[in-house]
């Protein structure tokens, strides 16, 4: 931080000295006609530029390097915190933007702090140059430059509002385009491409108008800057020129005074800019702090007073559960251990213990198919083949050019719903937990594949003498027909347990729920 600040102070000091150097060069060599003076001047220029560029390079490296390292540090903390299960209710997009742009912004402290130091130094040097040329001239020009800069700064909030409005409308147009192309098949199915294009055009024209408004604001600011620096220049040229004509200052001082009066606007604007960056960096840091301070236990799930679903299984059993979706949802939340969720209690041979609940939504990750299947396995991989076959995914995996080593692209979104569902099931089966809970595992596969899956689960986990226990929440008659028994949860919460075929024969409610 100190290194970065010192380097930038050096750089800005040199930048502030350049107008002075030009004045000196004119006065000392060009006007004098002394060849040695020329050589000395050129050597001086080389030294000045050498110092200027070296300072800047090391400022960039110190400050940028520190910023990059700090941003990584913040992201690491966020990742540990979020995955440590301590953040519950945040939109994914919000977390992504906090871990990306907020982390970058918050890490920029070293940049804006040294920026402030540098601008202040440049301001001091320019002021010193002006004051040393002539006290009254200097004071007058500093005041003029400051007034002009502050007047220009007054435009910024207005400009910022228009730019923000423009960014919002651009983001809206971009989001609409993405949404429409994502739903391309739906649009073509309906023949609604032109309606969609017309809708996009409306939003695009709004963005165009917002862009023109923001551009107009920027143009006014640009024009005001030209006018402001022109006024400073005209005032300094008149004042310093008259002094020079009187012989009070030399030609070199005239050029230096005019140059410094022009330059002084830069550090003045720089101080304002760095203060602004500092404010947004602090806001970003605040958002990161808020995430890091979050505790999961504040987010207890609501209980609606219904008694928990109590399921007691024997080790080695394959049991189906048929229940209303709301009941299934509460039970699954409790089984996977959501904080405060108490919709179900599952015991095997009277004992509760760890349960693997396969989420209904099949999330896949980048990596190969084999990598995905090995997600929950810590040891060396035994062949996932059996699990792939049991999940009815063998045919589709074999059809991939590289089989199990085929990369999964776009988090599996390039696969069909049925393929994703079967891979997720294969992953659960391959993980081979003692107690497995599946939630509607075959909603996206066809009837033929469903048969394969139902047989596969039975064969892989429940062959003779196996102690693996499986609970399936489903209303699929194909899956239910392969279970050892089915637990039916009535609308009043009563449990009925029996074989699939018996229930089909005797329980009209069950028939309706399963066969429709």
């Amino acid at each position: 931080m100190i290194g970065a600040a010192l380097c930038l102070v050096g750089h800005q000091t040199c930048e502030a000295t350049v107008p002075l150097a030009i004045g000196v060069a004119i006065d000392f060599s060009v006007a004098s006609g002394e060849p040695t003076a020329l050589v000395l001047t050129l050597a001086g220029l080389i030294a000045l530029f050498g110092l200027l560029t070296t300072c800047y390079r090391w400022f960039a490296r110190f400050a940028g390097g520190a910023e990059i390292a700090e941003a990584h540090q913040l992201r690491t903390e966020l990742a540990h915190h979020v995955l440590g299960g301590r953040v519950v209710r945040r939109r994914q997009g919000e977390l992504l933007s906090i871990a990306s742009s907020d982390a970058d912004l918050a890490a920029g402290a070293v940049v804006w702090v040294s920026g402030l130091c540098g601008s202040t130094a440049a301001l001091a040097v320019s002021s010193a140059i002006l004051l040393s040329i002539d006290l009254r001239l200097g004071a007058g020009l500093i005041v003029t430059a400051a007034v002009v800069t502050f007047a220009l700064n007054a435009l910024s909030p207005w400009l910022a509002r228009r730019v923000e409005a423009q960014q919002e409308s651009l983001a809206a147009a971009s989001a609409l385009a993405t949404d429409l192309v994502t739903g391309l098949r739906v649009l073509h199915g309906l023949g609604a491409q032109r309606n969609a294009a017309a809708r996009y055009q409306l939003v695009s024209r709004e963005a165009e108008q917002a862009g023109v408004r923001a551009g107009a604001a920027k143009a006014v600011q640009l024009g005001a800057t030209v006018l402001g620096s022109g006024i400073v220049l005209a005032v300094s040229a008149a004042a310093a020129g008259l002094l020079a004509l009187d012989g009070a200052i030399g030609v070199g001082s005239f050029v230096a005074a005019v140059g410094a009066a022009q330059f002084i606007a830069e550090p003045l604007a720089g101080i304002g800019m760095h203060l602004q960056i500092g404010a947004s960096a602090r806001a970003s840091a605040g958002r990161i702090e808020a995430v890091l301070a979050e505790k999961a236990d504040e987010q207890a799930a609501r209980t609606d007073g219904d008694a928990p679903l109590t399921l007691d299984l024997r080790a080695g059993e394959l049991v189906g559960v048929v229940a209303r979706p709301a009941v299934v949802e509460r039970a699954v939340a409790a089984l996977r251990g959501d904080p405060g969720a108490d919709g179900a209690v599952l015991s095997v041979d009277g004992r509760t213990g760890p349960v693997h609940v396969e989420p209904h939504r099949p999330d896949l990750f980048s990596g190969t198919i084999a990598d995905n299947l090995a997600l929950g396995r810590t040891g060396g991989p035994p062949d996932p083949r059996a699990a792939v076959e049991a999940a009815g995914a063998a045919e589709f995996v074999d059809a991939q050019p590289h089989g199990l080593d085929e990369p999964v692209r776009d988090r599996g979104l390039s696969l069909s719903g049925g393929q994703r569902q079967r891979l997720a099931l294969a992953r659960a089966l391959h993980t081979d937990p003692p107690v497995l809970v599946l939630v509607e595992p075959t909603t996206a596969v066809d009837s033929v594949t469903e048969e394969i899956v139902a047989d596969g689960i039975r064969l892989l986990r429940h062959s003779d003498g196996s102690t693996r226990t499986t609970l399936v929440f489903t209303t699929s008659p194909v899956l239910l027909s392969r279970t050892d028994r089915v637990v039916v949860v009535g609308d009043d919460g009563t449990l009925v347990s029996g074989g699939h075929h018996d229930l089909l024969g005797h329980d009209a409610g069950y028939r309706a729920a399963v066969l429709g």
Binding site: P19, I22, A25, I26, S29, V30, A31, I46, T53, R57, A60, R61, G65, I68, L83, G85, S100, A173, L176, A177, L180, V181, R185, H188, G189, L190, A192, N195, Y200, Q201, A207, G211, G215, V220, G223, V226, L227, G230, I231, V235, A238, G241, L245, F254, R324, P325, E358, P359, R361, P362, D363, S366, R411, S414, Q419, E440, T443, D446, V448, S481
Partner: protein, 584 residues
Amino acid sequence: MSELAGGADRTRLPLASAGDVRRAIGTHLRERRGRTVATVLLAALAALAGLVAPWALGRIVDTVLTGGQPGEVVSAAVLVGGAALLGALLTTVSAGMVVRVGQFVLARLRERTVSAALAMPAGELEESGRGDLLSRAGDDVAVVGDIVTRLLAPLVGAVLTVALTIAGLFALDPWLAVAGLTAVPVYVLSLRSYLPRAAERYAGERAAFADRAEALVSTLDGLRTVRAYGAEAAHTERIVASSARARDISRGVLWFSSAWGKWMNIAELVGLGMIVAVGFAVVSAGTATVGEVTAAALYFHRMFNPIGMIMFSFDQLQSAAASLSRIVGVVAAAPAPTEAPAERPAGELVGRGVSHSYATTEVLHDVAVALAAGERVALVGPSGAGKSTLAVLLAGLAAPSRGEITVGGTPVERFRSASPKPVVLVSQEAHVFAGPLADDLRMARPDATDAEVEKALATVGADGWVAALPQGMRTVVGELGHSLTPEQAAQVALARALLADPVVVVLDEATAESGSRSATRLEDAADAVLDGRTGLVVAHRLRQASHADRILVMDGGRIVEAGSHDELLAAGGHYAELWAAWQA
């Protein structure tokens, strides 16, 4: 859907050449020809006004050195002030006009791109091609938009300032101009060594950022699964590793670009030093005044910022050019719009000798189907049998490799861009468009009244939950809005089809994604949509098939059985086996 997967040639859309991009931009600029010319002229005048001040300052130097009158100093200073006033006005007006023209072209370009993207044959596009299309219509358009918005006006100003300042140097004294121009080779050479290496490094950095975002998104998105598998540590590790890799690459880029930065200063030094040295010579030789050398040095100093701006814009201009070639490439790849027949066809849907291939694999072999007007036909069979492909072809979303498909006697592809479309396909993809729910439905028919939208929702049995939404059918749904359950999304899809009021409805597993109870409700909704129309239902649940007038059983790209439910059961074939297994 893998069933619709194409060959490698379909995976990426083409890129447009630089010439195509120029022509595309030129077309839109010509629509605003007068304004474009006026803009450039005004911007040039604004830059010209900027040349007055250094020249006037040089005059003051000469006045001082030759012992002139105070009046001359004051009039030169007034000239500076006047030029500033004029320059400020011209800058404001021209910068505003540059933005106007830029935003005009940008808006037309993005509208053409999105409209071309939407015209891309969805049925033929492979998934990775869709990803490509998505990133072009979304990200690339955003990249170009951002660069136009931020850079265009300052860049135009900077280029004109540099060009006119060089002209001003020549007007002052050719030797001084040549001295200043010695900086040009330094700029050019350093830029030529910088750009290719920088492009590579920045591309690497962007890829590392994308990887980092992907690691974050996939983990956040699949957090439930990550937790279920106790894979938190491995995923944290992955995020941290991708972030560390991005950090290392960024640091390399920083070192590289900060090392290159010295060439900017070297070029400045060379130019300034040469002006001083040559100025020394010309003043000694008496061909120029000290004031002129002063003006030349100030001219040159004035160019530092605009040149820096131009140099540092090159990276972004390169990425804008890359995005533009991807954007214009979409427009080139989209099929030309065709005129659809105006009259509404009758409801017979007939396919003769229909075969279809993806790349070199034939997936449909000589299929014949005929649906009478008002008939309801179910299509069943295992995955990969070609059901979805046949559905897409029958709905006219893609042309078959061989054979002919007609609706009411007219080739169905001719209705591909018709609006409303006489044959509507409701696919298993339950996309809900972001925005108010009513707007989603109006995608099918923009002029539908609130009452019509409400009626459609009621017909598919969605009126109950829609009324329970915070703002009814004006509730914002989809991404970032109220999220609908798969069943509700499927009902919305069916309601859209109702509003489109087609002659023929093709339902491709529209009711697949749900449990049995809701499947029943959705089947009722589907019945309502099929009522009074010709219907083809790609059935996932056999129960739905059993209600159809006729059932077609597909296997291996062929229709292997056809008949009513009872006939097929009696025949004891493939269908009878499936039915028995399902009932067991």
